[in-house]
């Protein structure tokens, strides 16, 4: 009978054990060192720097000058455009998030069946979400053209005169909400995966109890999907607060600041007007707002998010 050679085990005393243990720790840090260096240099460092810059006036040319809470005071008391950008972003979020979640779930429900060629449809619905942001924005600028755009041409066929979507302060934001919905593909994929995970026996049990399709949706599908819906809701809210590319390409914040989003105003303040300190303060306010919203959602999730094995609160 042969025996496998055993790895050497260091039990030669306490000193040797701690030496071995320290070496294992160093080894671990060395493994993660490349990532850690990048994280400190490109994430943590700028993160902390922006915090201190938010209390300073700096235009990249002059040395930073300490101004304390001046930027934060200005934002809320002496900058109408800041308030406008915040309100615009909230307006967009309030309508965009529910709409895209509902559309994505609806399409996922439609595509959650085993039919020949269903993969083609899943691919087609997913494709818009992987299109480059700038290309999408340029495409939609044409679609929303007042005289010759596809959208107004289409609704003109049923006798409706379309508005000047991107040239009207009233319709510019609805245009962005419509446009942003077409990127539902990535949410749809998550929902499809979630739907695959709903146990079939729950549906069978519901059918035995005489549940209709609507009953099954409300009482089986959505509760079982609630963790996925919760996750997508948080991520979509975070993303919608940071909308930038479409506004930068399509309207540059116009007409008349109707689509002046928060990040677009932050970008202008930092890179066009060289108000680095003010832009840093804006970034920190956004961070705190998103953090607060996320924490509130986490707290509220106990009421409606159902994890398998738990009872609903």
């Amino acid at each position: 009978m042969t025996s496998q050679p055993q790895p050497a085990v260091h039990h030669a005393g306490k000193a040797s054990f701690f030496g071995w243990w320290r070496w294992r720790r160093i080894e671990g840090y060395l493994f993660i060192a490349p990532w850690l260096i990048g994280f400190v240099a490109f994430v943590l460092g700028p993160f902390l720097a922006s915090f201190f810059l938010s209390f300073a006036d700096w235009n990249l040319v002059r040395p930073p000058t300490w101004v304390g809470l001046e930027h934060y005071r200005t934002m809320f008391t002496n900058d109408p455009k800041y308030i406008k950008s915040f309100v615009n972003t909230v307006y967009f979020t309030v309508f965009h998030v529910p709409l895209i979640l509902v559309v994505a779930l609806f399409i996922a429900l439609l595509l959650n069946r085993q039919l020949p060629g269903i993969g083609v449809f899943r691919t087609l619905f997913y494709l818009p979400s992987v299109t480059a942001g700038v290309a999408t924005a340029i495409l939609w600028r044409f679609i929303f053209n007042y005289h010759y755009g596809l959208l107004n041409q289409a609704i003109g066929l049923v006798g409706i005169e379309g508005p000047n979507w991107l040239g009207s302060t009233k319709w510019a934001m609805p245009a962005f909400i419509i446009m942003s919905t077409w990127g539902f593909g990535s949410l749809m994929v998550l929902y499809l995966a979630g739907l695959q995970g709903v146990p079939r026996e729950l549906y069978e049990a519901a059918e035995i109890d005489g549940a209709t399709a609507w009953d099954k949706l409300l009482n089986v599908t959505i509760p079982m999907m609630s963790p996925v819906i919760f996750f997508t809701m948080i991520m979509t809210i975070i993303g919608s607060f940071q909308i930038f590319t479409a506004a930068f390409v399509m309207t540059e914040g116009g007409p008349a600041d109707a689509t002046l989003f928060y990040i677009l105003y932050l970008y202008r303040s930092a890179f066009q007007w060289l108000r680095i300190g003010y832009a840093s303060a804006m970034a920190w306010i956004l961070f705190l707002v998103i953090l607060a919203l996320t924490l509130i959602q986490l707290k509220l999730s106990r009421r409606w998010v159902f994890y398998a094995g738990e009872e609903l609160a």
């Binding site: 080894e27 040319v61 007042y146 040239g167 009207s168 116009g254 890179f271 066009q272 007007w273």
Partner: protein
Amino acid sequence: MDSTTKKITRRTFLRTSAFAGTAGVLAACAVPVAAPAGDGAAAPAMEDVTLRMVTHYGSPVRREFTSRVKDIFEATHPGVTVEVEVAPDIDVRWQTEVAAKTLPVMLWDANLFCEMAAQGVFLPLDDRLPMQQPPVDMDDYNVPTGAECMVWHEGQQIAMPWINGAPLLYYNVDMFEEAGIERPSDDWTWDDFVDVTKELTRDTDGDGEIDQWGYMQSTRWDEHFAQWIFANGGEIVTEDRLHTPLDTPEAAGAIEFLYDLRFTHKVWPLAEQMEALQALGIGSLFNGGRVAMTYGGTGGIGGFNRSVTDFTYDILHFPKSPATGERALWTFMQNFAGPIWSEHPDLDADLAIALGGPSSQRWAGRTKIQVPIYTPAVEEDYATKPPENIRVVPEMFAEPGVQHLPIFNGKTEWLQTVFGGELTKAFIGEASLADAITSAVAEGDRILARQ
């Protein structure tokens, strides 16, 4: 297993890979250190040097300009290579280059240059000027009033002036002739202007829709309003740079004149009309033969000479204000400057001087990419046909009261907010003119108060 054979365990392999990876990352971040003196290697007789130059204009004629200067400079400076980069996004990138101290020789506009000059960012040129061949005499350079900070700082010359841009009124000669309208005289007035534009605004194909307009211009920048406001006796910012006086009768009167062109006389296409035509592929309504007159700049002449082939164009003096009986001229200057931290200060200084030197000025004049600042180049090279009435440009500059657009800290935010933001609301029909002027003044003053 043979005890003399060492088996490489997985842990050993991973440990070695981790060390190698970390060492590679640290090596990539290492700063190269110059070899110490006396290491035995013979120094080359002439060290090869690469200079960088950036411009944000990429039109064919401007590329030709920079290419020409590059070739001549390299021919006269053996061992020197000039890398030219056309970067339309340099307005966003230059801050990073300043912070990293990699800023190259660059073409500058007024809005940021003077503030940076005050921080000592630019390379003095005085020592190199006398050494140029041919010699450079700065007395031949017509630096406009108000733009001195773009050339000198604390007695030192820190940039080489390049061009004086100014607004111009272009018109479609064929449209005028078809309408039976004679070329307006040099002394025409704002009222004459309205009459002419009304006659030229028409439905040419009989479908009941206006498809030819008398005039158009942008409302995005201060320069688009300044021409009219200055002519009417108004100002766009006070001398102390603390107030935006667009609500004075003179300034508001000029703005109202423009507003009426669009909404009362309807000789200037609405924003959605312009957008619709652009959606049809008519990029420039003037070049596309849809607009009889357009506000442009002196830098457009070279381009129009090349691109306008379907009709004859020419240029006009701006009409005179009824309030003052005068017209005004503002200019904006561009210059070339190198950074104070240059590794090759003499060469970078020579390059900046070459870019704005007499030879370059004459070439710019001949091609009409802009109005040279070098006076002999304006008189002998620029003032040549086409267009037929090119004399308008030197006449404009010869009139009294030519001033540079105001230069002050924070101007970019101010002009984008006041003109491109608040005033434009009225011109796209989203606010009344009175409200737009009021908010433009309020926002402008708020921004100025911070400087």
